[in-house]
């Protein structure tokens, strides 16, 4: 049995892994009461506010939840557009 599992492993994730991943995702939203839709709104508005003042690489903006024990935080990674690329773009 163990060996068969070992062979199967590369093909598809085990039901245990799927369960863990699904739980972690759903709990982020349960704990913070931030739905995926609200998350998108937040992202759009954050991009809008920042790009009003500084040029940013909109496509590369990454806003995620991080968890430390039972504390959740919103983490934003917002790459600024470099000066040389700005010039190249003009």
């Amino acid at each position: 049995m163990g060996f068969l599992q070992f062979l199967r492993r590369d093909k598809s994730p085990s039901s245990r892994e799927v369960a863990k991943e699904r739980l972690q995702l759903v709990l982020v939203h349960d704990r913070t009461q931030i739905s995926p839709m609200l998350m998108q709104t937040l992202k759009d508005e954050i991009i809008a506010v920042i790009s009003k003042h500084v040029p940013i690489d909109r496509e590369a903006v990454d806003i995620t939840f991080t968890q430390n024990r039972r504390e959740s935080r919103l983490q934003a990674d917002i790459p600024l557009q470099s000066r040389s690329r700005q010039r190249a773009a003009h």
Binding site: Q5, S14, R16, K20, R22, R31, R69
Partner: protein, 264 residues
């Protein structure tokens, strides 16, 4: 001083709160502790049958709260042990028959006479849960390694935090080692990663639990079944002993090789 008041709760129903309450109560009483198990599941009482005391009930919690008897008269003594009592729930009423404040009164009244007051909480997050958690000093959250139970446990842990209780400790119930081994069940570390609270104990799935409940003799009275031993270990940890986890997850040769590959 006086008793530690510990509420056993879960969110989801059917994960083993009542079995855990009965067995931890018995295991503590077997270690010479004065224990009372209080059934807070009004309208759906079950702690009495799990403990095997259903035929000796005269009055119940609601009778005591409403003044038809004194709290002492509603207590049923378990004759198998020197200092174990049950305070049964009412069967003919519902959760609104008692308020959280009344629960606090009853528990504070009993505190000086016991070492432990264990409260068996009903499932859910509504008034029945509030009745059970309000008097508590500590809480034990019971879950099984299944997505629905873990999700509800997370919700309950949040509510216990919001009630400014000491952080709850986790009891993982009905773990099936062979399914964990096949990677078809969340393992202990997965559940701890997800819920991020301290572990109090792990109880393996054990058909002896059903047999013990059939007979009304909690497993912890005997000490030979695996689940009975697990509950005894939990009682010892509550008493401050440092008891290592039983080895119920036996990693096979192949899972160890697999880990070796994964690590490299």
């Amino acid at each position: 001083m006086g008793a530690r008041i510990i509420t056993i709760t879960s969110g989801k129903g059917g994960v083993g709160k009542t079995t855990a309450t009965a067995n931890i109560s018995v295991a503590l009483a077997m270690r010479g502790q004065r224990v009372i198990a209080l059934d807070a599941d009004i309208g759906l009482r079950n702690l009495d049958v799990v403990m095997g005391l259903e035929n000796r009930i005269v009055y119940d919690l609601v009778d005591a709260v409403e003044g038809r008897c004194r709290v002492r008269q509603a207590m049923v003594r378990d004759k198998r042990l020197p200092e174990l009592y049950l305070l049964p729930a009412a069967q003919t009423r519902d959760k609104t028959a008692v308020t959280p404040e009344q629960m606090v009164e009853v528990c504070e009244d009993l505190r000086s006479e016991f070492d432990f007051i264990l409260i068996d909480s009903p499932a859910g997050i509504e008034q029945g849960f509030r009745n059970a958690i309000t008097p508590a000093d500590e809480a034990i959250v019971v879950t099984t390694p299944e997505v629905s139970a873990v999700r509800d446990a997370d919700r309950i842990i949040g509510l216990i935090e919001a009630a400014e209780k000491e952080q709850a400790r986790l009891l993982i119930n009905r773990l099936r080692p062979e399914m964990v081994e096949r990677e078809d069940m969340l393992n202990i570390d997965d559940v701890l990663d997800i819920l991020a609270i301290d572990l109090l104990g792990v109880v393996p799935e054990d058909e002896q639990i059903i047999i013990a409940t059939n007979r009304g003799r909690p497993l912890a009275l005997e000490n030979h079944a695996q689940a009975g031993e697990a509950f005894s270990n939990i009682a010892r940890r509550l008493l401050g002993e440092d008891v290592p986890l039983m080895t119920i997850e036996k990693p096979s040769f192949f899972s160890r090789v697999k880990r070796l590959f994964a690590a490299s």
